[in-house]
Symmetry: C2
Subunit: 430 residues, 2 copies
């Protein structure tokens, strides 16, 4: 058997502890797969003395994570520090420059600097692996980089944030408003104290950016993602979605269009008959069309100790057995800069909800503004008759230009009879 | 860049032609992934002169596929001949002995001889890859061998045969009997002229055998699979399943039990709320519980040119970049011989349908035989009142010993008032 591969582990929190535990518990089976032992030879963490799930007392401890990149007894650095700049970025760069492989769960870092880091890894002949950055319990990075590589993909769609999917599922089950469900999720530990990155769609955008690169061979382009969060979804929207045969999911969608690559993160109306609609609670899922290899759909756990540690360990085994290959499936120099699909060209059908005063002529006014922008209505529901009080008018449009719908909504919003900002949710194709 | 890897392609039918086309169309992108070109240097097929999707006129042709294993200009043999013995087996054995890697789509061969072939590959230091043998459009071999490797799996379930799933889906949609739907599927080319291997469950058993080995580290044990086909499913069963909140699917199930490994292929009642129940038409799917990494569910195309060619090419790229590793994820000598779960120990709830003469006392008689064997009834439906004519009595039992239910059914079947052999379908847990 070959020499052991030596791991420097930066971050001993939930995930880092999980990684150490798996490497300990499964040592024999993992060395069979890797052709060599995988040994932790140095660690770094914020608190040296904290109790760990695995006893690492015999392993050299570095107070400064960056020191892991300098140690002669480290072949691969596992970066579990997090954040798109700061220590995480410095550690990864320094490790790659020092000809050490890097395994990371850091989606923010790679979404922002993935192209440059892939080039750095290549220049120094080492691997850069990030299965844990996207849906740890689904080996989707491996599937896109090594599995479904024979035909061009046309689109990738994902439910990539468990917190948002949990909140939307709970809103549907309890009919409670967003803020209450979020507060409950925070109380239960399903949502962070500062939930901005989840509910605003930023976390989904990080993951989508990486999926886009893997699927289309483009450099990660985080700024090319158009982003809408879930905080404006009302229980009424979820109920109306059900009436129309849809469910609302926060989707990350990357698509090839005639004009370039479109990357969207937004709540979307997903047809109830499609697998994505059935993804419950905190599960993640990715669906794509792999050309002649057919459409596929993968569902699993996205985050947390087990799924993330599992993905980190899989990457470590790949590195240990020398299965490196380019980070995004092609040489960094061949990663094209994606041409961004323009917002103007974008076409979609939309769900629209207006809260209006129930007075004569309001429907005619809304219809007129939509018609002015060539937005035609496919179906409509008007509920509750309360003369003089706000009621909901809900409609689904035919396919229309995104900007045209926005212009119509602006005109409609200016009406004194429309009492709150209209809600607009794109319809996903079946 | 390294030297090209040289491929000897045995079989130029639908799949072989698809492989040649992908290697041609995607040559550049594949060489990026592989770190070298992948070149077809010799081919073999039954008919040398047939028109191909790719022009292979310049490639040396061997009338005898076995000759591919002897050629000095072949590094890897792609075996698309098929069959568990004969030329396919001889070719694979000879190639491995000649230190050539093997990529195969041959599930029958591996289900029967996989342990010995893995040992042979290992002894000669070459790779044996078979992604295309199980659900080509889902990289499930890679996922189990390289991805979800950190925690012990408890069970794997799959819809592994597109023909059977197509027939069951059609029976549900059209309410037609099995024989008619099968005939229609044959007419449309969705079922073979001799459909025995599909509808009898044999094809599912081949694939399940390989999944079991990948999931549990055991040598393939085809004879350990207990097999029931779909030919006895009646439209009435599909309708009753719906009433109870289930759908009938042909499942392959491998489970760890306290007594060993259980491998079953049979029509099963799948709860309508689970992803497996929603797998439509000719799609395949695999669901498993990867311990702390969570449950996962993958759906995609199983067979046909695109999915199978895609899987073969992915394996070729792995071989080309030197990502070999043991065929079943551990050294052949470490593949344990699975202890087979005994039929006696097996526990399950069951759906039972009896066609009985509608005369007084028949229900009492059935109940008594079940009670004698300690099989208790959870719910029951009796439909259609036609005194003296056959009617259906349908029930779902609580969990009971498999052999006890069989004994009860034998006793009930002996009654003059039961007019055909009872139908018995196990219930899958949610």
């Amino acid at each position: 058997m070959n020499d052991p591969i030596r791991v420097g582990l930066a971050g001993l929190g939930t995930v880092g502890g999980g990684v150490a535990k798996v490497l300990h518990d499964q040592a024999r089976a993992l060395s069979w797969r890797a052709g060599r032992d995988i040994r932790i030879t140095a660690v770094s963490a914020r608190d040296a003395r904290k109790d760990r799930v695995v006893d690492l007392a015999h392993v050299p401890f570095e107070a400064d994570a960056l020191a892991l990149a300098e140690r002669d007894d480290v072949d691969v650095v596992v970066e579990l520090v997090g954040g798109e700049e700061g220590i995480a970025r410095a550690l990864v760069e320094r490790a790659l420059r020092g000809r050490k492989h890097v395994v990371t769960a850091n989606k923010a870092l790679l979404a922002r600097h993935g192209g440059a880091l892939a080039a750095l890894a290549e220049r120094h002949g080492v691997g850069l692996k990030f299965e844990a950055a996207i849906c740890g319990g689904i080996p989707i990075v491996k599937a896109l980089r090594e599995g479904l590589i024979s035909y061009d993909l046309s689109a990738v769609r994902g439910i990539l944030n468990g917190t948002c999917n949990f909140i939307l599922t709970q809103m549907e089950a309890t009919r409670q408003p967003f803020a209450e469900v979020l507060a409950e999720a925070q109380r239960l530990g399903y949502a962070e104290a500062d939930p901005t990155l989840d509910i605003g769609g930023g976390d989904t955008a990080h993951k989508l950016t990486l999926l886009t690169s893997l699927a289309f061979g483009t450099a990660p382009d985080l700024d090319g993602v158009r982003l809408t969060g879930i905080d404006r979804i009302a229980p009424a929207d979820i109920a109306f979605a059900g009436e129309f045969g849809y469910r609302i999911k926060l989707l990350g969608v990357a698509r090839r269009t005639p004009n370039g690559i479109e990357q969207l993160v937004n709540p979307a109306m997903v047809p109830a008959s499609t697998p994505l609609a059935d993804v419950e609670s905190s599960f993640n899922a990715v669906a794509a069309d792999a050309g002649e290899a057919g459409p596929f759909f993968f569902q699993g756990r996205g985050a947390g100790r087990g799924p993330t540690a599992s993905a980190v360990v899989a990457d470590l085994v790949d590195v240990a057995r020398g299965a490196l290959g380019p980070a995004f499936g092609r040489p960094a120099a061949e990663l094209s800069t994606p041409r961004r699909e323009s917002a103007e060209a974008r076409m979609s059908a939309y769900y629209l909800r207006f809260q209006v005063l129930d007075v004569p002529g309001v429907m005619a006014e809304i219809s007129r503004h939509l018609a002015n922008e060539l937005v035609s209505i496919e179906s409509m529901i008007q509920r509750g008759r309360a003369p003089g009080e706000p009621v909901a008018i809900v409609m689904i449009t035919h396919e229309a230009q995104h900007v045209a719908v926005l212009r119509a909504l602006q005109a409609i919003g200016a009406s004194g009879r429309v009492v709150e900002q209209p809600c607009m949710i794109p319809m996903e194709a079946a």
